[in-house]
């Protein structure tokens, strides 16, 4: 477990450096604002499907995350 935490940290730092180079401008996020471009935009449906997975699958987790969208404030 300790080893995978270090691996994860290394991966995150590399990713932060490499992926930080991508440059979608704040005004170019029109498509990303659309619900079809987001992961789990419908909370009730996502909750129900997640519930079904938890009951019927031995594996757990991995499909929660935040991000994408229009980033408008």
């Amino acid at each position: 477990m300790k080893r995978s935490a270090w691996l994860l940290m290394g991966l995150m730092i590399i990713l932060t450096g490499v992926l930080g180079c991508s440059s979608v401008q704040p005004w170019e996020r029109e498509y990303l604002a659309d619900e079809t471009m987001q992961f789990d935009p419908d909370p009730l449906m996502a909750q129900w499907h997640q519930h079904v997975r938890e009951i019927r699958e031995g594996g757990r987790g991995g499909f929660n995350g935040t991000g994408g969208g229009c980033g408008c404030r």
């Binding site: 995150m12 932060t16 401008q25 704040p26 005004w27 029109e30 980033g71 408008c72 404030r73």
Partner: protein, 170 residues
């Protein structure tokens, strides 16, 4: 217990890394700078040049139809435009939608009375170094950027009101 400590320390390190990378927000066109001049085409087909509005207070707004806070903000601008237009307020709303008809549709639905400048290629957004949607610059009568508003929230209307009133006194 040791495993829990290691996990917690790793999480602490992540947070430090992300705070280090994240808190350096880029700035858009700055306060106290002269508002970069441009010529844009409006929905009505006319050309508008920012420098020709010297002597007016200009609210220069950057928006898109896909941006939720932008849609909250435009009806408010409509109201203050009606209130202060006669005494020297101008509003230019620069829209970034790829298709003009989208902007026209929303402008019509909201009954906007101020010019909407079309910028589908984002050149004006680049010129003003926009980092947030929406962004509004308050440009004084001298053509200098008096303030920058990122986003639109409940605190903004009173701030706009007091800024406009102060600038009108000059």
């Amino acid at each position: 217990m040791n495993k829990m400590m290691n996990k917690r320390k790793t999480i602490n390190l992540f947070l430090s890394v992300l705070i280090f990378f994240g808190t350096g927000l880029a700035h858009g066109a700055g306060l106290g700078e002269k508002a970069p001049d441009f010529t844009g085409k409006t929905l009505g087909g006319k050309n508008v040049k920012l420098s020709e509005l010297r002597g007016h207070i200009v609210l220069l707004n950057f928006w898109g139809t896909w941006c939720a806070p932008c849609k909250e903000e435009l009806p408010y601008f409509n109201r203050i435009y009606g209130k202060y237009k006669g005494v020297g307020l101008e509003i230019l709303a620069v829209n970034v939608d790829k298709v003009a008809a989208q902007a026209a549709g929303m402008s019509g639905a909201l009954g906007l009375t101020f010019p909407v400048v079309l910028d589908p290629s984002g050149d004006l957004f680049n010129l003003y170094r926009i980092r947030n949607m929406p962004t509004t610059f308050v440009v004084g009568k001298d053509g200098m950027i008096h303030s920058v508003h990122w986003g639109f929230g409940p605190n903004d209307p009173p701030r706009y009101e007091s800024e406009i009133k102060n600038l009108l006194k000059d």
